[in-house]
């Protein structure tokens, strides 16, 4: 079975700090995604990537950046964390050409104080 690993379950940071969230998948999937999950707002797409070194903006990319240097690894970066970025962050992956199923990580709950 596909495994999507987000190694940090909880993370607490202060306003202005740089935050680095990492996601690793072990099934050679081409597509990788970062979502944030907020009560009442559902899942919102931040960034996604179709291949190494490729990235595309989702619905809410402001304040975030991503890095995909290796196929299995997709990182989400908050250059200067703000309190409104407190959220659950979910990573997901799917295969090409028609990624009909998303495989999710267990999520990282980020609190920005």
């Amino acid at each position: 079975d596909v495994k999507v690993t987000q190694s940090l379950r909880y993370l607490v940071k202060r306003t202005g700090e740089k935050v680095f969230l990492e996601c690793v998948q072990d099934m050679d999937h081409e597509n990788m995604f970062w979502y944030r999950q907020d009560p009442g707002l559902g899942l919102r797409l931040i960034y996604f990537s179709y291949d190494v070194k490729m990235k595309e903006k989702g619905d809410i990319p402001e304040g975030y950046s991503v890095s995909r240097e290796k196929k299995e690894r997709f990182s989400l970066i908050l250059e200067s964390a703000s309190t409104n970025q407190t959220s659950m962050y979910l990573c997901a992956s799917s295969s090409q050409p028609r990624g009909l199923k998303l495989f999710f990580g267990s999520g990282t709950q980020l609190s920005v104080l």
């Binding site: 559902g42 996604f48 595309e56 799917s94 999710f104």
Partner: protein, 108 residues
Amino acid sequence: AQRVTQPEKLLSVFKGAPVELKCNYSYSGSPELFWYVQYSRQRLQLLLRHISRESIKGFTADLNKGETSFHLKKPFAQEEDSAMYYCALLVPGNQFYFGTGTSLTVIP
């Protein structure tokens, strides 16, 4: 733009009662729709997709293009069905758009 609407944030039903979680979508092309579920302390996972026309854990969902709906139904709810349910739309480019979710509680 809002592409998937789930009008109910919370839904409570008694065990054994029928349950219907509503989902409406807005998309000009031919839609591909899914239901994802997140049980307590578990990761989000695929429940079912309309192209498979399958029944998973007793749940079914029929795509109604006329009403642009993809409601999730189960005739007899069980306690283990309590979870957060998300309707999702897949658009070209392999992007999924999710609704805001419905939290289902099945009362014993």
